[in-house]
């Protein structure tokens, strides 16, 4: 295509693309983000391509490969438009019958339709599925419609119209005022008002400035940024172009992506090339004389590089060490120049605010948290996936209405939000409206949006130990409170989970937590104790049980549990005996089996293979076996 040389040409391009698309015909949309590919979407794509070619149906059926549709539990899935029929967990062998029945004869195949876990009803249409119904998919809806490798698809969805509007007559001050009035706050975790940050950076006097997109999504359990970059990279690029214009003096932007996201890097690269070719990046953007370009920088596997000052050190080609703030990056950032850094989801919100207006944006949400937020709903929940919800929705609605409740009918215990910097919110606080401020009051944070659901089989001390192991391992070692403090906390927690906890350990943990929080240099250390503090606040009795009774109530901590076979349930099927890696199970066919506790390594294989109907292998407190 030709380079666009005037803002008005974006609209013309959009009209041209829409006019060129066939009004009828069916489109099969295949969800193929990293999760989809891991579940086999590539085989589905191939099967459709082969079958359509073989039967010469190219003009009747089109196939679109998109980023992830969010309902990861049901991958690989497809949606058939125009009707919006949703088919789940497909296998390539099912493709011919989908073409025969659904695409050519308009008949729905009941076996492929998702069944709701709560009410048992089959929902053939995507829009009716309870998982989607309560969501507000401002950012993620495009993942149904856009082939991320096609800039035309993005433009067809009104993409780059916000850039056209900004460059077509808005001043930088107008843009900043618009973002400020929208109430958008940083989606990376801390919730700093985006417009205010831009204004600070604009006010910093310097010949050169930079903007950065932080895509170093390191929080374990959060992957919305990956989904946005894989599924709709142009929305982030468009947001950055607008930001660069508003801040001024910025000819170079960076997107810092973690290396664990190869597909995101690939799609971003394709999108950047296409935007350059269309005259939306590079010199003289849309013929307005405005220059701006973006470079991808890949991380190299260091969690701390998600911290803004560390991230900049990493772009400069150094170790990702954080530094003291202030001065903040808006004054003194990359190579000492004023730098504005926002997270992926924040950037992706910008085109929406400009195109649909600040009032439209600010109508959704709570008083101090506006718009939507994407959460990744994972752990012991039925409907795992990415959910985009209005700010202010309650935890109960997310976990039960959207998430379909807890797996295997277990009891809901807590939700961990905000990753290693966040905390555990107990089941009693289910009706809390989710926004930056209420979560902070509960001792946690919105953070990047990970929501890990925990049930009665999750040990909260083990979870705290898990996070401390994580932060201890990822601590860069520059400052003492974080380097040594997290280590000490991890050691105490490990001791407790091994049944070696002592009187006074809880107090020691609390004291250390305070020191690490107050004394650490950067956000990593300052927030590292949160998982311990919130679990102590809400689940103190579990700590006490580990320390005093040497008992793990959830039967997780290996040193405190034992696997035993209940004689009245065991049917003697030999399954556990065959699978036991150390030969610790004795018993003959149709006779009750016994676990030899002296040989058992507590790997849990027997528990896993024992048929669900029988459930003869159970986990008990190790003390109980001593009694037996």
């Amino acid at each position: 295509m030709d380079r666009l040389t005037h803002p008005s040409q974006v609209h013309e391009w959009n009209t041209r693309i829409l006019a060129g698309r066939p009004p009828h015909g069916k489109t099969v949309v295949i969800s193929s983000g990293t999760c989809g590919q891991a579940s086999g979407s590539l085989g589905i794509i191939e099967a459709f391509a082969d079958e359509i070619a073989k039967r010469g149906l190219k003009d009747v059926i089109s196939v679109k490969v998109t980023g992830c549709h969010g309902f990861c539990e049901l991958e690989p899935n497809i949606i058939i438009y125009p009707d919006g029929i949703f088919y789940k967990k497909l296998e390539p062998r099912q493709v011919p019958s989908i073409i025969d029945l659904t695409l050519l004869e308009d008949r729905i195949i009941p076996a492929l339709v998702p069944v709701d876990v709560v009410n048992g009803i089959k929902y053939p249409f995507q829009k009716d599925i309870p998982f989607y119904r309560k969501q507000l998919r401002w950012l993620t809806e495009s993942n149904f419609r856009i082939d991320p490798t096609s800039i035309e698809d993005y433009v067809a969805q009104d993409g780059y119209r916000a850039v056209a509007r900004v460059l077509g007559g808005m001043t930088a001050e107008d843009v900043i005022a618009e973002v400020k009035a929208s109430g958008l706050r940083g989606r990376g975790g801390a919730g700093f008002p985006t417009g205010a940050k831009w204004a600070l950076c604009r006010a910093s006097v310097s010949e050169r400035k930079h903007i950065i997109c932080n895509a170093d999504e390191g929080d374990p359990g959060a992957y919305m940024d990956r989904s946005l970059l894989e599924g709709n990279p142009h929305s982030v690029i468009e947001g950055m172009i607008i930001g660069a214009y508003a801040i001024g003096g910025t000819s170079q932007g960076f997107i810092y992506v973690r290396k664990e996201y190869p597909l995101a890097v690939k799609h971003l690269g394709i999108a950047l090339d296409a935007a350059r070719e269309a005259g939306l990046l590079g010199g003289d953007i849309l013929g307005t004389g405005f220059d701006f370009d973006i470079r991808i920088v890949q991380g190299a596997g260091a969690f701390v590089s998600g911290e803004e000052t560390s991230l900049m050190a990493s772009i400069e080609g150094r170790r990702a060490f954080p530094r003291q703030r202030p001065p903040y990056p808006t004054e003194h950032g990359l190579w000492g120049r004023p730098t504005n850094i926002n997270n992926v989801e924040t950037w992706a919100n910008i085109p929406l605010i400009i195109y649909r207006g600040r009032d439209w944006f600010a109508r959704t949400g709570t008083e101090k948290s506006k718009g939507t937020k994407i959460f990744s709903l994972v752990g012991k929940i039925n409907n795992t996936g990415l959910v985009e919800v209005p700010m202010g929705i309650s935890l109960r609605e997310i976990v039960f209405d959207i998430g379909g409740g807890i797996k295997d009918g277990k009891r809901f215990k807590a939700v961990q939000t905000g990753g290693p910097s966040g905390g555990c919110i107990p089941a009693e606080m289910m009706d809390l409206p989710i926004d930056y401020d209420t979560l902070a009051r509960a001792g946690s944070i919105v953070g990047s949006g990970g929501m890990i659901v925990m049930d009665e089989d999750t040990c909260m001390v083990d979870v705290a130990r898990f996070f401390l192991r994580f932060t201890q391992e990822e601590s860069c070692g520059k400052c003492v409170p974080c380097r040594v403090g997290t280590r000490q906390m991890e050691e105490i927690l490990t001791r407790i989970t091994e049944g070696k906890g002592e009187q006074g350990d809880i107090e020691r943990l609390e004291k250390l937590a305070k020191t690490v929080k107050q004394g650490s240099l950067c956000g990593l250390g300052q927030t590292a104790p949160n998982p311990v503090l919130t679990t102590l606040r809400y689940f103190r009795s579990e700590y006490e049980a580990h320390i005093h009774a040497k008992n793990c109530p959830a039967h997780v901590c290996k040193a405190l549990i034992a696997y035993v076979i209940e004689p009245d349930k065991c049917v003697g099927c030999l399954l556990c005996r065959k699978n036991c890696p150390v030969g610790a199970i004795r018993g003959e066919l149709k006779k009750t089996h016994i676990v030899d506790q002296a040989l058992c390594i507590k790997c849990g294989v027997c528990f896993e293979v024992c048929p669900r109907k029988i459930r003869a292998v159970v986990r008990v407190s190790a003390r109980e076996t001593e009694k037996r």
Partner: protein
Amino acid sequence: MEKILSRFAPAQKELISILHAVQAEYGYIPKEAIAGISRFLRISEGEIFGVLTFYKGFSIEPHGKFLITVCLGTACHVRGGANIAAELERRLMIKAGATTPDRKFTLATVNCLGCCAIGPVVVVNGTYHARVTLKKVEGILAECRDPE
């Protein structure tokens, strides 16, 4: 090596990108490459070594024929990821981070691959295995043993 370096400007900001390129080519960062980068960027070998060992994504040793990565992110953890790692350690008779003496397997762990919904996740040479159970571990290893 010359060919790799010719794609970059001789500036420190390129260091991490260069290291990525070298690792993509050789599978690890050979000693000679560090010397080459040092001459090219005019920074000391010590500093380059410091940077590359800071980041977990770089290795100074070649890994085995099959690189098995177990995700230990939170979602995988609550679904038993640590048990999967322990089982692999037991079967391969190496600790996470090590390579088997026959250089066939390297076992690595990662703190989140961002596909939490399908955890526990194990990646073998770039192929993702979803919802791994202790029982599936044997099959995953068996696949590696098949002739290519």
